[in-house]
Structure formats: C-alpha cells, structure tokens
C-alpha cells in the first residue's frame, strides 16, 4: 500500500480488509513469475440474446491481471473489450448477461456470484472504474468534493468525519495533479482534462486493487491526453494499483502498457508483454493492427486490407479471424484455435503456431 494514501486516511484501509496473511495470498501466476494475481478471469462468456440468435459478445475469454501492472486490452470497436470490462464490474446493461465463467478477485471472491449488497461492497473499494466519457459522468449540479465525498461515504465503514474526507480528497488531488481550488468547483468550471483527473481521483479514492479505465483519454487533445496518461502511470507506480486500460490507440498503449491483450470479435487472440506485441506479434490480426498504426516518423504507402468481419450472430466454425486472415489454412475453417502459450509469457490463438507448443 502506498505511503501517501495511508497518511491520515487509514480508515479506508481498516475498513477494506485487504491486508492478507501469507496463507490467504492468492496463487502466483502459472508461468513462474512471482507476481500476485489480482484478478483472474476464467472462461468468461457474455451474450446478448436477440430474437433470432444470441450474440456472443465475449467468447470463453481467460486472462490474469497481476498486481501493479497495467494491462492494455486492445481491439476494434465492437470486439468486446468494453463488454469484458463491464462484466468485470458487473455493470452489464441488460439484455447483456454473463453466460458463464468466473471472475476471481484476489484468489477468493468470484464476482460473478455476488449480488446486491455484496457487490456494492466490492465495487469502488476493490474494483473501480474510470468511465469512457468523463465529461458526462460527473453530476453537473454537485460540487467536485461532494461527488468524491459521496463515493467515499457510501463505501467506507465506519464512516469518516468530514475533516477526514476533506483531507483525503485533497491528498487525492495532489496525486493526480489537480489544484486544491478544484475542491469547491462545479464540473462545468473544469476543462476536459481536469474532469478526467477528477474521475481518476474518484477511482483511486478507496485505494482499490484494480482500476478499470475505459478509453480514459479518447475525448482529449493529444497534449492533455499525455498529461492524463502520465497521471495514470503515476498512480500505478505510487499506489501499486493494477490498471486494466481499454483502448484502441496502439501508440498510447505502447507508452503505457506493461502487457497487452488483443481481442477480435469477442475472442482473445493474443496476450504478451507490450514490447513483444509491438515488435514480434504472432497473430495475423495483431500484425495487421501494428502495421496499420500511422506514424510521424516515416511516410509509407498505406497498408490495405480487405475483408469484413462476419455477422456476429453467426460466427463461422473454426477460427474467428478466417474471413480476413491473409494466411488462412484449411484447418482454420474447421477447428477453433485455443489460446496457448507458444513462448514464455506469450499466448496466441492461431493454428500457425500449432507446431510450437
């Protein structure tokens, strides 16, 4: 736990019983890294039932989020990355629902099984959200400190005094680089970047183990985006919080992520350390994504790709990417490739690497 947040703010930690004894510690990761798994997602599926057929928005996805890492979840719009994040927070909008799988928090609690008050206790205190449009997620008629105070008040028992809450909010402002005068302002008096930082401050208010950030900078200008991105890195390094960053900007992910997970049409296709994804991507879809990144370094001919994503209601048998894959083989049309570890820490779901296992 961070020094900064604990100063004068011990109450939240006393309430949030995250101090664990060695025996309770969650299992270490299977690939031999001595890292704690904060959140383990096992065979998660999310479906949206429609009259004709169910749309499988997330199909049998498994991955770990380790303590203190920033995991980038990347993919095109509609690939299921936001749905995965919302499922983790149990904030899926009906008719969307979790059709199967487990979301294990700290090796103990299965979030899928929680209901009502139990769920409320976990949200914000253990898993917090930085929403996509920070501009629109703040209440326009409440002052900034009232909103953050509300979140703290609702999730901390025993209740903190007003002075304690004020102290805590000011500490949080310091962490995200907001001036103290922000305390008494209304959201419309803040710039987009400041609003986003208020949302970050709110997300880390209770020192959660995991923060889910859904495209937190997508509506910001590049210079402001860079500052907000630095704030995210800063809280990761200083608080040791794990961050699941949802996005589609490869450049931004390259700057921030420790590991990246690539999704396509509801399926996880590749997971590896960020550098590996960027320099030695294995899955043809990841390769395509990397090649499509425009740069300001060299002027190169545009790389064109044809092909359409299949109708999500009727996924083809076999590999999910077959209709757009330049290297498609006969086996891809029949057998769905499982996500397998081909190299240490590098998992890919592609038949090209069947021989490597």
């Amino acid at each position: 736990m961070s020094e900064e947040l604990n100063q004068g703010l011990g109450t939240a930690n006393r309430a949030g019983n995250r101090e664990q004894t060695a025996a309770e510690r969650p299992p270490v990761s299977p690939n031999g890294l001595d890292k704690e798994v904060v959140l383990a997602i096992r065979n998660l599926s999310v479906v949206y039932p429609t009259r004709e057929a169910s749309i499988v928005a997330v199909n049998d996805v498994s991955f770990n989020i380790f303590k203190g890492e920033l995991l980038g979840l990347i993919g095109e719009s509609g690939c299921g990355k936001t749905t995965t994040a919302m499922a983790i927070l149990r904030l899926l909008q009906p008719p969307g629902m979790i059709a199967g799988g487990e979301i294990i928090l700290a090796g103990k609690t299965d979030l899928v099984k929680l209901e009502g008050a139990q769920l409320q206790a976990v949200r914000w205190r253990d898993v917090a959200l930085i929403p996509q449009g920070a501009m629109n997620s703040l209440n326009p008629v409440m002052r900034v400190h009232e909103q953050i105070g509300d979140a703290i008040d609702a999730h901390v028992t025993p209740r903190m005094s007003r002075d304690e809450i004020k102290q805590r909010i000011l500490t949080l402002f310091g962490l995200v680089g907001l001036p103290a005068r922000t305390f008494d302002l209304y959201p419309h008096e803040l710039s987009g970047g400041m609003k986003q930082r208020v949302c970050i401050a709110m997300a880390i208010a209770l020192n959660p183990a995991l923060v889910v950030a859904d495209e937190p900078t997508s509506a910001l200008d590049v210079i402001v985006q860079r500052i907000v991105a630095q704030n995210l890195l800063d809280i990761k390094n200083r608080l040791g919080v794990s961050i699941l960053l949802i996005g589609h900007d490869m450049g931004l992910m390259a700057q921030l992520a420790d590991r990246m997970a690539v999704m396509y049409a509801g399926n996880m296709v590749e997971i590896a350390p960020a550098r590996t994804i960027l320099t030695e991507p294995l899955h043809p879809y990841t390769q395509l994504l990397i090649e499509a990144v425009p740069t300001i370094k060299t002027r190169k001919p545009l790389k064109l790709t044809e092909g359409l994503t299949h109708d999500l209601r009727y996924p083809p048998p076999g590999c999910i990417f077959q209709s757009r894959c330049p290297l498609v083989m006969e086996v891809c049309r029949r057998v769905r490739p499982p996500l397998k570890e081909t190299k240490p820490q590098h998992q890919v779901a592609c038949h090209l690497y069947d021989a490597l296992q």
Partner: protein, 343 residues
C-alpha cells in the same frame, strides 16, 4: 491562368457579441488565408485541437455559416455574391464527408436512399438505368458492391462501409473539392488506411482536392500535401506537410508532435509535460501571441502584438517571434503572401 479553386483571404469568424451577449465574443477564426490552386488537385490538412477553429473553417467553406469579415472565393467568384445558379454549381462542386458515419443516415431508409436523393435533387439521371450505372460507378470507386450493399439499412453496415458510402455519394456529384471533417476518427485502425487510400486515389485519378480537417497529425503526414496548424483560431504554422511535420518550428506544434504517443516501445515518453493552471490559461491574452501562457520560449515582446507569419523555408511559415530574424535574412517571405498552401 485560371483562378484558384479556393481562395480564402483574411477569413474571420466571431461568434456572439450580439445585443444580449455584449462582451461574450468568441473569436473562432481570425485572419485565415488559404489558397488551393486550380490544378493539380491537393490534399490540404487543417490541423488543430478542439476549439482551434478547424470545424468553423469547414462550416464556412461549406456555407453553413457566414464570415464576419474576409472573403472566400470559389473558382474566382466570391461565395457571398453568387447568383442562384452559381450557388447551385458551388453546392455541387463542394461536397462534405462528416466525422460520424452513424449520424448522417436516416435509419428508416435503406442506404440507397442517400444516393437516390442526390440523383433526384441534382437531376443527374434521366432513367433508372442511368441512375443505377452512376451509383455502380461511384460505389466501385470506394470498393463497394452495389448489390451487396444498396438495400441494406445503415445499422447493417460497418463504420468503414458507411464512411465509404458517404465518399461515394460525394463522388457521384463529380465535385472539385471535398471537405472531410475528421473522416477517419471514428473508423477502426485497420479500415482507416482504406479511407485514406480512397482520398488519395480521388486526388490523383479524379482531380478532386480535399480540405482534410483533423487533429491527427500522423494521418495528415501520411496523405496530405500541405498543412495548416491552427491554435485558438489563428494560424500557428503552415507549409508543405513534410517540411512542417519533419521540422516543426512553432513551440506549440513541437509540443503537439512530442505528445503523439509513439508505437515504438523504445521511444517511451521521458520528460513530464505540464500545462499551467487553467486560471492562467484563461487569462485573456488581449494582444500578442495566444500561445504565450503555455509557451516555454516566451519573451516579453510576445505580449505586445500578435506575431505575423515568418518564412523559415520556401513554403513553410511560422507565426512566432523566435523566427523573426530567420525571416529578415530571407527577404522573399512576407507575412501576408498566401503562398503557404499554394506554393
């Protein structure tokens, strides 16, 4: 020599300032000059962050809003003084492709409706066969198949398909200029290249110029010939795209370039950047350079008056006093020659 395709001189747009809102004037665009030559066709990028005036410029060129002062001429004719017939030609020759390919369709009609409307309104075809042939050729340009797509509803198409449909619609009218306002910002990475490629092909094969409005300098670098970078309604820097992007001069443009996240893991951001407190930003710079509050090279005389455009290279100009002397050494460049985009 034929007059330039588009000739914008001293364009200024001020919002507000009416009877009820005295004192609340917003200068969205000030003293903007741009020339797009008659031939050959060019892709001209207008870049800037939100609030820089780039969409105001698009609206002005498309005739959605009127200039406060200044002049926009299309093929030599002032657009405010056009006759009805001229205006119709102008409306046909200047087309728009908007940012959000989801919002421009009426969800109740199949997508062929947008094509039918255009053909009907501009009387492009006499018979249904002619109309079908026109639509077919427009769709071929953007790589779509008529029979696969025309009878679908907008929600059945992907974002990339919808955006290509819009470019195809614009092409149907054989325009001379397409104003593309952030055409790829809502399209997925792998389809972005396809849209940009269509723009390049329309320029090279069909002689259509583009006003490419964007905040994304990297795609601008890939496809455009000239670039104008706006900051709070004024030109900060302009010139040939390669010159401006490869050797940015204005402190703002340099900061912008530094903030573009690089996909290279060996080029992680090292230095922290910070913006001054918003209070300082809002402090109205009455005269002088608008970038002053955020500039790390600011000098006293930056506040005295607004810097004019100084030439730093042939077809590369910067509105910054740091380059005052560079311009003096090179007497050919003057502030108000509008060679920037045209040269």
């Amino acid at each position: 020599m034929s007059p330039p395709l588009l000739d914008i001189q001293g364009a200024t747009k001020i919002y507000g300032g009416g009877f009820l809102e005295r004192g609340r004037r917003v200068v969205a665009l000030q003293d903007f000059d741009l020339i797009i030559p008659d031939k050959p066709a060019r892709i001209v990028t207008i870049a800037g962050e939100s609030g820089s005036g780039k969409s105001t410029l698009a609206n002005l060129v498309l005739g959605f809003t009127e200039l406060t002062t200044g002049r926009i001429a299309f093929e030599g004719t002032d657009v405010t003084k056009m006759s009805r017939a001229d205006k119709k030609v102008y409306r046909r020759h200047v087309q728009a492709v908007m940012q959000d390919p989801y919002a421009v369709y009426n969800p109740f009609y199949p997508v062929r409706h947008v094509y039918d409307m255009v053909i009907h309104n501009f009387r492009l075809a006499e018979t249904k066969e002619q109309a079908d042939a026109l639509i077919e050729s427009a769709l071929n340009i953007v790589g779509l198949q008529a029979k696969e797509i025309l009878n679908k509803y907008p929600h059945q198409l992907s974002g990339g398909q919808r955006q290509r449909m819009m470019i195809g619609r614009a092409y149907l009218l054989k325009p001379r200029l397409i104003v593309a306002d952030e055409p790829v910002s809502m399209v997925d990475a792998s389809l972005r290249a396809m849209i940009l490629d269509i723009m390049q092909r329309l320029r090279d094969q069909n002689g259509i110029s583009f006003l490419y409005i964007t905040h994304d300098l990297s795609t601008a670098y890939q496809i455009s010939d000239d670039i104008v970078v706006l900051y709070q309604g004024r030109i900060a820097e302009r010139g040939s795209t390669t010159s401006v992007i490869e050797q940015p001069k204005h402190p703002y443009v340099r900061q912008l370039m530094d903030s573009i996240p690089s996909p290279d893991p060996d080029q992680r951001w090292d230095l922290q950047v910070s913006l001054p407190d918003d209070e300082a930003l809002r402090a109205h710079v009455k005269s002088g350079c608008r970038f002053y509050p955020r500039c790390s090279f600011r000098m006293d005389h930056c506040l005295a008056s607004q810097p004019r455009l100084y030439a730093v290279a042939p077809s590369h100009q910067v509105a910054c006093y740091l380059y005052e002397n560079a311009a003096a050494a090179e007497p050919t460049g003057t502030s108000d020659d509008s060679a920037g985009a045209a040269a």
